[in-house]
């Protein structure tokens, strides 16, 4: 047994987890600050300078609130629901390449937890499993609003999963691999004479728009936040939840937002590649690549918030109309156009 391999991966996983949770925590702060900025307000400013400690205060409050379980609910499923939601959110980061390779202590350390050769399908798999947390949580609460929110959420998520899968096929056709590492590495080529700028977004603009829309719907973010629309369903599927179980549902949403921003950056915006990356020596290449990847991720997280505070919510029939009658035909068209272009031109 190669214990160094296990140790190396364990350290990487721990770093990744802390980073994910830290970013998810500060996304809540960022969301409130962005909302305040867009609405010409100040936002949270009491806890620490510029309110920078606000997420800690919120997190502490989550821990010390009463852990309420309604007496007519299915107790164990009620606990299982948020657990599954958080678990699936944390698992997707395993196949994402966070940078090139580091050379330390005479070893080559890949900045990716697992380079499986079905990476894209692994992500689709966890996206499809993600429905269960919400469904089980909403159903076991034995509350009509929760049930309605859960059914809406799962219907919406499965509908947009189809268009998402179809839009990714065009990318796989171009790269010839399902491994995200290959997809990221292939974007280091040159486009119009600029090295490291061969980003898929320039070759697949339509696919990118479809994927982006589906990513919004899969994370239940505005304008697709019908499962938890306050004006109709109180809190949606997490109406009955309190304490850290509620925290898990909310946290899972922010983790998912972070992961889907990472996916958009990795699949369509070159991942860790940027013009001039290959001039850097050795380990600096890996570090600079990771830093640039996080800049791209931060931009897309900001984009999520920007959209949330700009667009109004869809109606349910409009949502289904968009998912089934617009995005799926468009994604099939995109796939066929890509295929025809690459076969005959």
């Amino acid at each position: 047994m190669d214990w160094f391999f296990i140790l190396e991966k364990a350290i990487l996983i721990i770093i990744l987890f802390s980073l994910t949770l830290f970013i998810a925590m500060y996304e809540t702060y960022m969301e409130r600050k962005v909302a305040a900025f867009l609405q010409d307000r100040v936002g949270p400013d009491r806890a620490g300078p510029f309110g920078i400690l606000q997420p800690l205060a919120d997190g502490g409050k989550m821990f010390f609130k009463e852990d309420f379980i309604p007496n007519s609910s299915e107790k164990w499923l009620f606990i299982l629901g948020p657990g599954i939601a958080m678990f699936t959110a944390l698992m997707t980061s395993a196949v994402i390449p966070w940078g090139t390779e580091l050379h330390l202590f005479g070893r080559t350390i890949s900045l990716q937890v697992a380079d499986v050769n079905i990476g894209v399908l692994y992500i689709m798999g966890f996206v499809s499993i993600g429905v269960y947390g919400i469904m089980i949580g909403g159903w076991s609460s034995n509350n009509k609003y929760s049930l309605m929110g859960a059914i809406r959420a799962s219907s919406q998520m499965i509908s947009y999963e189809l268009a998402m899968g179809l839009s990714l096929i065009a990318i796989v056709m171009m790269s010839g691999s399902l491994s995200l590492k290959d997809i990221a590495a292939q974007q280091s080529g040159s486009l119009m004479g600029i090295e490291g700028f061969h980003w898929n977004v320039f070759l697949q603009p339509l696919g990118f728009l479809i994927f982006l829309t589906c990513a919004f719907a899969e994370t239940n973010r505005a304008p697709f936040d019908l499962p938890e629309c306050e004006s109709e369903l109180i809190g949606g599927y997490h109406t009955e939840y309190t304490s850290m179980k509620l925290g898990f549902f909310l946290f899972a949403e922010y983790v998912n937002m972070f992961i889907s921003s990472t996916l958009i950056a990795t699949i369509y915006f070159g991942g860790y590649n940027f013009p001039g990356l290959h001039y850097l020596p050795g380990n600096w290449q890996a570090l600079a690549g990771t830093a640039v990847l996080f800049l791209k991720i931060l931009f897309f997280i900001f984009f999520y918030m920007w959209v949330r505070w700009t667009l109004p919510r869809f109606r349910y029939d409009q949502l289904m109309h968009l998912g089934w009658k617009v995005l799926i035909p468009l994604a099939v068209l995109n796939m066929l156009l890509t295929g025809a272009w690459m076969t005959w031109f």
Binding site: M1, L77, V116, I118, V127, I129, V131, K144, I151, L178
Partner: protein, 175 residues
């Protein structure tokens, strides 16, 4: 290492499989079935059939089980609405289950178990090779499967959709 994993996964799949049958609540049955599917996907990975493993998760655990959960949530699961299980129903269940068992034993008895399973080319299950086989040697069955999907769609629409004129007011009232 690989053997320990094999036994752990087999144990999990058998135990959860039994839970599917013995669980009182249908929701618990469905959830145990999902765990069974994950254990079986693990077995596929041990056999290096990676594509099959992930498709098993996406299609069975991620799509068909969601449909099952939907159906269970669609049904009225209150205690008083439970269907009555009289002697005739139980007898029918026992008979059909024993028939299935006879068929399975017969099929297993007649089949030949290949000896050298280890020496076969184990990269068969990778997506690349699978696609080559599917789109070169089995193109016609692949096309025919699309007709099967067409038939399934027609069936689903026929069963699930009433003509707008037949919908009553009480059905519109449902959530």
């Amino acid at each position: 290492m690989i053997e320990i994993l094999f036994y752990v996964l087999s144990f999990v799949s058998i135990v959860t499989g039994l839970m599917v049958v013995f669980a009182k609540s249908p929701i618990h049955s469905v959830l145990s079935l999902i765990v069974t599917f994950f254990a079986i996907a693990g077995q596929y990975i041990l056999l290096n059939a990676q594509f099959l493993a992930i498709v098993h998760i996406i299609v069975y655990a991620g799509a068909i089980m969601v449909l099952f959960l939907f159906v269970l949530m669609l049904l009225n699961l209150n205690k008083e609405a439970e269907p009555n299980k009289d002697i005739a129903m139980k007898l029918a269940g026992v008979i059909s289950a024993s028939l299935l068992m006879v068929t399975l034993t017969g099929a297993l008895h007649g089949s030949v178990v290949p000896e050298a399973t280890l020496a076969v080319n184990t990269s068969n299950g990778l997506v690349k090779n699978l696609g080559q086989v599917l789109f070169k040697d089995f193109v016609v069955p692949f096309e025919i499967s699309s007709l099967l999907f067409l038939a399934a769609m027609a069936g689903a629409v026929l069963l699930g959709k009433k003509h707008p004129s037949q919908i009553t007011d009480s059905e519109i009232q449902k959530i």
